[in-house]
Amino acid sequence: MKIIAAMSGGVDSAVAAARAVEAGHEVIGVHLALSSNPQKYRSGARGCCTIEDSHDARRAADVIGIPFYIWDMADEFHENVVENFMSEYKAGRTPNPCLRCNEKIKFAAVLDRAKAMGFDGVVTGHYARTEESTDGRTLHRAVDPLKDQSYVLAVLNREQINGAIFPLGDTEKVDIRIEAEARGLAVAQKPDSHDICFVPSGDNAGWLRDRMGSEVGPIVDQDGNKLGEHKGAYTYTIGQRKGLGLTVPTADGSPRFVLSIEPVSNTVVVGAREDLAVTSMRGERPIFCGPAVGAAPLRGFVQVRAHGAALDCTYYVDNDQLVAELDAPLLGLATGQAMVIYDGDRVVGSATICETA
């Protein structure tokens, strides 16, 4: 097949491209320029998107022996990922921009463009597996549980999964580094990227404050009693305990946690740990990676964070929303996060959490 290898400049995408070449594909390396004003050098927790990273990607392509180009996706990235990140926080939700990027950029803008140009698909360095079954191609967890990225890929629909190749899902990260070394890739020991690529400092709250201001508002308990003030409701997350700066102690001295964020009144509501408990969740915009789920309840697992636990649940679709009822309560679940349903290690689908109870 003729495929585009999305190369971030990291070790994973470099090895993925090399494996695709070895598998007999005709591969062209593409680095996505996602910032219209990229920094020259990596700094802080940032793991990609600098000119240095684009250079690393180019050198990896040189070693692998494939053509290499840079595609400017800065406008699309800003519109679909960065602006969405801000508007979600503004609305009191906690978004995951990596999912959004996979859904809108890597496996939409890039895949569509690649297909129109005559390519058959896109290969990336994500840790996930696909399997061919009677129901078509399905998405599965990677064998390395610490690196498994099926959660952030669960926004892909069936057509996108059919156009995706994930050559690393069957290997542990430590072995990918060894393989990169053996292949002579200079990025073999390059540190993993962490956090959000467009927040170089890793300080999400500070980044949001710089762009959205810090409007002071009340911190209240569940009865509406004002306990303190905050500097921008969007810099808090559900379940947060530290940094609340409250001076009024609880009667029994137990700690308080953020229970909800109300963007319209710019209010942060706090309460006791047990009030964080959630036993069911609803998600909007469900996307199914394999056969679609219906109204009939099914047993499986739900995961609500990139490296969170898989929680036993019953799931079904109601009113175009994906519903998961947990066997055991979960503490602290923010709307805006993705709920991803698994059937064993197979990804069933995902939705954006809009309601918890």
Binding site: P67, Y69, I70, D72, R113, A116
Partner: protein, 380 residues
């Protein structure tokens, strides 16, 4: 087969230049040394200087070797500015970044005021604008810089007329693309300064020259051993200088043949894509450059697709991150941001053949069709 249509970026070295360079590389001697070896290398350099001066219609002492065309442009723009008490710099809006960027740098750091000469839709500078500026503010102008021909479109500029209008205001001309392609005489044009580069004319990379009028002594960018009239210190790069002169002296550029290939290509492109627009076609152009807008496409997609069909061409400008940017040249000619990013430059050289043109034309329709499709889904 593979077809190289990017001769304006760099063109193959002529064999005579490679041979001259190899011979020189095996010779010992710093051209500034006083002993036998030094004198021998110095002789090679001075022979080369005279050959280049002869080809350019200037004095040998007016040839100052530099490390690149960019360096010569920087030396000229900054040097002529610092040489003058005046603060206004007048450049065309279609200059290469090697001229525009030092001019902008002088604005930011040295109190210069920059005026840009607009161009017509065919990419020719507006002489009426120059007349007006010279009439109104002539006493404030430190220098004027206009390229002899544009690197993206090949459009030739009316330098002789410009120099007449300028009167005694110093004029610099970046002639990197024109040298050896069209008649060019430093003396006849009446210039103060001119830039040329070896790798555009069949010589090696990394050697250029600033042609600077004898009586003009500008401040140096590089200080050191005092070589090159104390304007450009640094050990003379004898092998590259010798090869540069060999390429120039050989006069191997066949303008008639190159123009015929370019014209055949353009005729074929318009037959296949009647909506394509050849930029600057109404103006006097260099023989080898063709800049074509394919509406509805993205030039970086087209380049990838042409490259995968083994045809090498250019999208024009890219930023430091390697991202394709709208061309300031095409935008100055009135193209929109979008159209200027839908344009490719094909540049032909003496090594190209009719078969090259036919091959490029044979892959073009499919490339454009895919480019149109990619643009519909992938962008905006």
């Amino acid at each position: 087969m593979s077809v190289y249509l990017d001769h304006a970026a760099t063109t193959p070295m002529f064999d005579v230049a490679i041979d001259a360079m190899n011979t020189s590389l095996r010779k010992l001697g710093n051209p500034s040394s006083l002993h036998t070896e030094g004198r021998s290398t110095r002789k090679d350099v001075e022979d080369a200087r005279e050959k280049i001066a002869h080809a350019l219609g200037c004095l040998a002492s007016e040839v100052i070797f530099t490390g690149s065309g960019t360096e010569a442009d920087n030396a000229a723009i900054k040097g002529l500015f610092w040489h003058s008490e005046k603060k206004v710099i007048l450049v065309s809006s279609i200059e290469h970044h090697a001229v525009l960027d030092p001019a902008h740098w002088l604005v930011e750091h040295e109190g210069a005021q920059l005026l840009e000469i607009p161009v017509t839709t065919d990419g020719v500078i507006d002489l009426d604008y120059v007349k007006k500026v010279v009439a109104d503010r002539g006493s404030e102008i430190a220098l004027i810089s206009v390229m002899h021909s544009n690197n993206e479109t090949g459009v030739i500029q009316p330098i002789a007329d410009l120099v007449k209008i300028a009167g005694d205001i110093p004029v610099h001309c970046d002639a990197v693309q024109s040298f050896t392609k069209v008649p060019l005489s430093f003396k006849d044009l009446g210039l103060f300064a001119m830039t040329i580069s070896a790798h555009k004319v069949g010589g090696p990379l990394g050697i250029g020259a600033l042609i600077l009028r004898r009586a003009v002594e500008i401040p140096a960018l590089l200080h050191g051993g005092g070589q090159e009239r104390d304007i450009r210190s640094g050990t003379l790069n004898a092998p590259s200088i010798v090869a540069f002169a060999a390429a120039v002296e050989a006069k191997l550029y066949d303008a008639k043949k190159v123009a015929a290939l370019r014209d055949a290509f353009e005729t074929g492109v318009l037959a296949a894509r009647p909506d394509a627009v050849i930029n600057g076609r109404g103006a006097d152009r260099l023989p080898g450059i063709s800049n074509i807008t394919f509406p509805g496409t993205q030039s970086d997609s087209l380049l990838l697709l042409m490259d995968s069909q083994k045809v090498s061409c250019s999208t024009g400008a890219a930023c430091t991150a390697g991202v394709h940017r709208p061309s300031h040249v095409l935008m100055a000619m009135g193209l929109t941001d979008v159209l200027s990013q839908s344009s490719l430059r094909f540049s032909f050289g003496t090594t190209n053949t009719q078969a090259d043109v036919e091959y490029a034309l044979s892959v073009l329709p499919d490339v454009i069709a895919r480019g149109l499709a990619a643009n519909l889904v992938g962008k905006k």
